[in-house]
Symmetry: C2
């Protein structure tokens, strides 16, 4: 395989990632989990602080309880696997940025194996509730719970609903300065 082919494959792989929130029941194989964690481990972070810990959760009871805390993580209840991020919370803005980078890598590593994922965003009292449920020490920020599993194609919602569309490049790209658009 030539380098050009590799680049093409990688770009279409990156473009192809979608949020998945309905899963088939079969478990995510351990070697896939191992790859996801290895990719997570190599994530970049500000000052290389790696301000994260990662909880791998398969117990349906725990996943169901997480789905019920305040936030948007209801899809965890139907997922065979959940990954919860516990972030060191000293600089909230920087931590949220690093957490976004880490999340994207976890989703991509799963997708490399055909495993779909969706972000459950925990808000308000749900953060404390999730922390207590998982026995995470205080001082950590718990706001991201990612559900993972093989996509349930039968449950897939149509892709091209207006609200789901992605903006054209002409709406988001500027050349050299904000007031100049491409072409």
């Amino acid at each position: 395989m030539t380098e050009t082919h590799n680049a093409e494959d990688r770009i279409s792989f990156l473009c192809g990632l979608r949020a998945v929130r309905s899963f088939r029941p079969e478990p995510v194989p351990q070697d896939v989990v191992d790859d996801v964690l290895e990719v997570a481990r190599w994530s970049g972070s500000a000052g290389n602080k790696q301000p994260w810990e990662i909880l791998v959760i398969r117990d349906p009871e725990t996943l169901g309880a997480l789905a019920d805390v305040e936030g948007y993580a209801g899809h965890l209840a139907g997922a065979p696997l959940g990954i919860v991020l516990a972030m060191a919370g000293e600089r909230p803005e920087q931590a949220a940025y690093d957490e976004g980078r880490l999340t994207e890598r976890i989703m991509l590593a799963a997708w490399a194996h055909g495993v779909g994922s969706g972000i459950g965003w925990i808000v308000g009292s749900g953060r404390e509730a999730a922390r207590e449920l998982l026995k995470i020490p205080s001082g950590r920020m718990v706001r991201t719970a990612i559900s993972l599993g093989y996509p349930d194609e039968t449950a897939r919602r149509p892709r091209s609903r207006a609200g789901q569309a992605h903006k054209p490049l002409s709406e988001i790209v500027h050349e050299e300065q904000y007031d100049r658009n491409p072409g």
Copy 2:
């Protein structure tokens, strides 16, 4: 190429991304820039709001001026290309998270073509200065300036300095609950 080989290639590609801050002078080809922007366009975001605009900057004078604003973007001065993110700033925590996801994808898309990148984090008065320099309307948050180019191997710093190492999985992974580590 089998699916397994594809998965292996993608995982090693994801693991292989490193921050690059020294660049060879040759420009980043337009087809690489096009792929980077296309991957950026397909980034996921909370509520699919896509709260971003992207500035593509090649003018060395502009890059030099950006390198001088308050923050950690000095490496832009030596880069043939800069990408600056302008985020809609209504919900700062969510915006920083989405910005991290977008940044990681931009870096990976460049890396798919062998183009390295490094994050320049703009802080304090640098955000306003960068906004004015690039004529970005007020109300947008400007804190990420990514420098891109082919890595200058001769300038590469040794990789395994203690401070640059990544933590072992045993330090960051917990199974089911925080107080249980992988067996």
